[in-house]
C-alpha cells in the first residue's frame, strides 16, 4: 500500500514540528527516514500512523483520504525504539493479540503465530513474559506482533537503536528478508547513515522538520541535492568550507587552491560552499594539500579518526590506517579535488564531478 502525505504540517502550540511536507512512499522495499534527533522522524511516523493528526494537509492511502480515521481502523503496525510489549501477556499472547482483537479463529491464530515465531526464532520463548527476555528477544517480539497482522504499512521507529552492536547487526540483516515477501510499505527511521545504506530502498533526508530530499538511497548518498542532505547523510560529519572561486581556481583561505571542474568555470566568481566526505581526506598521498591543526586523534583498532582545524573549519579525516598525532600538532592532509561537492550560497548542489560517486563508497551495493 502506498502512503502519501499531501501538504502536511504539524504544530504543537506555536511550535512547528513538521514544515509543509509532500511525500509519496511506494509499496515494497524500505523507505528510510534519515535525520538526527529532533529532525522530525518520529513525528512524521506518528502522522503516518494516525497517532497524531496533521495541523494542515491530508494523508492518502489506496483507501483514499485517511486523515481523520482512528488508528484502530487503519492497517498500520509500528515498532518503537523502546521495547514495547504487553507486560502481562506471554510472548505467544503478545504476538497473538492483534489477531485476537481482529476476531480470528483459534486455529488460524495458532498457525500464524507459530509461523512468525519460527521466522523470528521466538518459538522456544512462547511461554515467557516479556520481562524474562533479553532486549533483542523483546524487540523480536515487538517485530513479530507488527508482522503477524500482515498490515500494508509498517513503521519502524529506530527499532535497533537500543540494542547492542552484535544484535543490531544480526537483526538488521534479517529485516529486509522478513519484509521481502509481505509487499508492505516499510518506513524505517534511523539516525545512522550506514544503516540507511545497508537497508537500501528509498531515503528521505530530514532536517529540523523538513524533508530535504527523497529518492533512491544510493543516489542520495552520491548526489545530495543540498548541503543539508549531504550533512545528514554523513557520519562522521561531512567536511564543509566556504571557498572563493576566481576564474577556474578555487581558493580555501589564503594557502589552499585548486582547479574547479569545468562545469563551474562558467559560473560567476564569488563564494561557494564545498563538502568533502571524511574518508576522502587523507593523511598522505597526492592531491590538494591542506594544513590542519589536530585537535583530537582517535584510533579505532584498524583505523583512525582525526579532527582538525582547517582554515577555521572543523574537518574530520577518517582513514583505514593508524596515525597518531599530538594535540595542537600541525599536519598536512590531502584530498582529491574531484571528490569535492560544490554548493551555491543557497546550499543547492551545483555540480559534482562524476568520479566522486565512486562505487566503493557503498557498502552492500548489491542490495540497493
Amino acid at each position: 500500500m502506498s502512503i502519501e502525505l499531501r501538504d502536511v504540517t504539524f504544530r504543537v502550540g506555536a511550535e512547528k514540528h513538521i514544515y509543509k511536507t509532500n511525500l509519496l512512499l511506494e509499496p515494497g522495499g524500505f523507505n528510510i527516514l534519515l535525520g538526527t534527533t529532533l529532525s522530525g522522524k518520529t513525528t512524521l511516523m506518528r502522522l503516518m500512523a494516525g497517532l497524531e493528526k496533521p495541523t494542515t494537509g491530508e494523508i492518502w492511502t489506496k483507501d483514499g483520504d485517511v486523515t481523520g480515521i482512528p488508528v484502530q481502523k487503519r492497517s498500520v503496525a509500528m515498532v518503537y525504539q523502546a521495547f514495547i510489549n504487553y507486560p502481562s501477556f506471554t510472548v505467544y499472547d503478545n504476538i497473538a493479540s492483534p489477531l485476537k482483537v481482529a476476531g480470528l479463529s483459534k486455529s488460524a491464530i495458532k498457525e500464524k503465530v507459530h509461523h512468525i515465531g519460527d521466522l523470528l526464532k521466538l518459538t522456544p520463548m512462547f511461554n515467557r513474559l516479556p520481562s524474562e527476555l533479553s532486549g533483542g528477544q523483546q524487540q523480536r517480539t515487538a517485530l513479530a506482533r507488527a508482522l503477524v497482522k500482515g498490515t500494508e504499512l509498517v513503521l519502524l521507529d529506530e527499532p535497533l537503536a537500543n540494542l547492542d552492536y552484535k544484535l543490531r547487526e544480526e537483526l538488521r540483516d534479517e529485516l529486509p528478508r522478513l519484509f521481502a515477501d509481505t509487499g508492505a510499505t516499510v518506513v524505517y527511521a534511523t539516525s545512522e547513515p550506514l544503516e540507511a545504506l545497508m537497508l537500501g530502498g528509498h531515503t528521505a533526508t530530514l532536517k529540523e522538520g523538513c524533508v530535504v530530499q527523497f529518492g533512491r538511497t544510493a543516489s542520495i548518498y552520491r548526489k545530495p541535492a543540498t548541503m543539508e542532505s549531504a550533512q545528514v547523510f554523513s557520519d562522521p560529519p561531512i567536511n564543509t568550507a566556504v571557498i572563493k572561486k576566481q576564474g577556474e581556481m578555487a581558493y580555501l583561505g589564503d594557502t589552499v587552491s585548486w582547479k574547479v571542474p569545468e562545469q563551474l568555470v562558467s559560473l560567476p566568481d564569488g563564494n561557494y560552499k564545498i563538502a568533502l566526505r571524511p574518508h576522502h581526506l587523507l593523511p598522505e598521498g597526492q592531491g590538494v594539500e591542506v594544513d590542519g591543526i589536530v585537535q583530537i586523534a582517535e584510533i579505532s583498532g584498524s583505523g583512525s579518526i582525526i579532527r582538525m582545524n582547517v582554515e577555521g573549519n572543523i574537518w574530520v579525516c577518517e582513514t583505514r590506517s593508524i596515525h597518531s598525532y599530538q594535540f595542537g600538532e600541525k599536519a598536512r592532509f590531502v584530498f582529491n579535488a574531484d571528490h569535492c561537492m560544490y554548493f551555491g550560497a543557497d546550499n543547492q548542489l551545483i555540480e559534482q564531478h562524476p568520479s566522486s560517486s565512486d562505487q566503493t563508497d557503498i557498502t552492500n551495493s548489491d542490495r540497493l
Binding site: 500512523a49 497517532l51 482512528p70 488508528v71 484502530q72 498500520v76 503496525a77 509500528m78 518503537y80 523502546a82 514495547i84 504487553y86 507486560p87 502481562s88 501477556f89 493479540s97 492483534p98 482483537v101 481482529a102 515487538a142 506482533r145 497482522k149
Partner: protein
C-alpha cells in the same frame, strides 16, 4: 562468617517493635483480675474466655463485620474512581492539571475532625446516618486522593507507547484499559488498595461519629472500656489482637509491591 553485630541491631529493633504487641497478646489470654493484679510476663491463669465472648456476643463480632463491610466498600469505590482519574492525570495535559493534582493532596491536610460535624449533619439530613455506605463515602475523602497519587505514579512509569501499540493493534480504549493496562499496573492497584484498607480500618473519629448501632465499627466498640460488670481489660486486649490480623494478612499479600511503590516515591 557473619559478624555478630550484623544481626544484633535488627534483632533488637524487632524485639522492641514486637514487645507491645506481645504485651497485648499476653493480656488477651489473661483474666481482667490478673491484669489488674500486677505485671506478669506470661499468663498465670491461661484463658480463652475473652475470645469466646467476642465470637459469641453480637455487639462484639458485629463490630468486625461492620468494619469489614465499609472498608471493602470504601476500597472498591476509591480504586474504581481513582483509576480513570489517575489515567487522565498521567496521560493528558489539560488546563490546570497540575493544580488539580496538588489540590487532591490538600484534602489530606485537614484533620478528619474538621469534617466530622458537617458530615454528621449532611448524612443525617439525607438518611444515610448509621449506614456502612456513609462511613465508606466519608473515608473516600481521604482515600481517593491518596489512591490517585499512588496510581498516577505507577501509570506514569508505563510508557505511553504501550497505549498506542494497543490502539494500533486494534484495541478499543475500554478493551485496552481492562485487558492490558489494569494487569500492567496490578502492583500499583495492590498498593493503593492496601493503603485504602489501612486508613479505613484504623480510622476512628469519622466512623464513630457517623454510626450509632447498625454500622458501629469495632474501633468504636473497643472504646467501651467498662460495662456493667466493671472493667473488661482482657476482653479489650483480645479485641485489639484480632484487629491486627486483617492488616497483617493484607501486608503479607502486598509486601513485594509496597517496596516497588516506595521505589517510585509515591507511597
Amino acid at each position: 562468617m557473619i559478624h555478630p553485630r550484623k544481626w544484633l541491631v535488627p534483632a533488637l529493633y524487632i524485639l522492641f517493635l514486637m514487645l507491645p504487641i506481645y504485651g497485648l497478646l499476653a493480656m488477651s489470654f489473661k483474666t481482667t483480675g490478673e491484669i489488674l493484679g500486677g505485671f506478669s510476663f506470661f499468663p498465670q491463669q491461661f484463658t480463652l474466655a475473652n475470645y469466646k465472648v467476642i465470637f459469641t456476643d453480637p455487639t462484639w463480632y458485629n463490630g468486625y463485620i461492620n468494619s469489614i463491610i465499609y472498608v471493602v466498600i470504601n476500597t472498591v469505590i476509591s480504586v474504581s474512581v481513582a483509576l480513570p482519574a489517575a489515567y487522565a492525570f498521567s496521560r493528558y495535559r489539560f488546563l490546570g492539571d497540575k493544580h488539580l493534582f496538588f489540590w487532591l493532596l490538600t484534602n489530606r491536610m485537614a484533620p478528619p475532625a474538621v469534617f466530622a460535624l458537617p458530615f454528621f449533619q449532611l448524612y443525617s439530613a439525607i438518611g444515610l446516618f448509621d449506614t456502612h455506605i456513609a462511613v465508606a463515602l466519608a473515608h473516600c475523602l481521604f482515600n481517593i486522593p491518596l489512591t490517585v497519587w499512588i496510581l498516577e505514579g505507577f501509570m506514569s512509569g508505563i510508557p505511553k507507547e504501550l497505549d498506542e501499540t494497543a490502539y494500533l493493534d486494534g484495541y478499543s480504549f475500554s478493551r485496552f484499559f481492562i485487558r492490558i493496562f489494569i494487569p500492567t499496573i496490578a502492583a500499583g492497584i495492590g498498593v493503593a488498595m492496601f493503603f485504602c484498607f489501612m486508613y479505613s480500618w484504623v480510622e476512628l473519629l469519622l466512623a464513630k461519629t457517623l454510626t450509632s448501632v447498625d454500622a458501629k465499627p469495632i474501633a468504636a466498640t473497643m472504646t467501651r472500656t467498662a460495662s456493667s460488670s466493671g472493667y473488661e481489660l482482657g476482653l479489650l486486649a483480645a479485641a485489639g489482637s484480632l484487629t491486627i490480623i486483617p492488616g497483617a494478612v493484607v501486608i503479607y499479600f502486598v509486601r513485594n509491591y509496597i517496596a516497588k511503590g516506595f521505589a517510585l516515591g509515591r507511597v
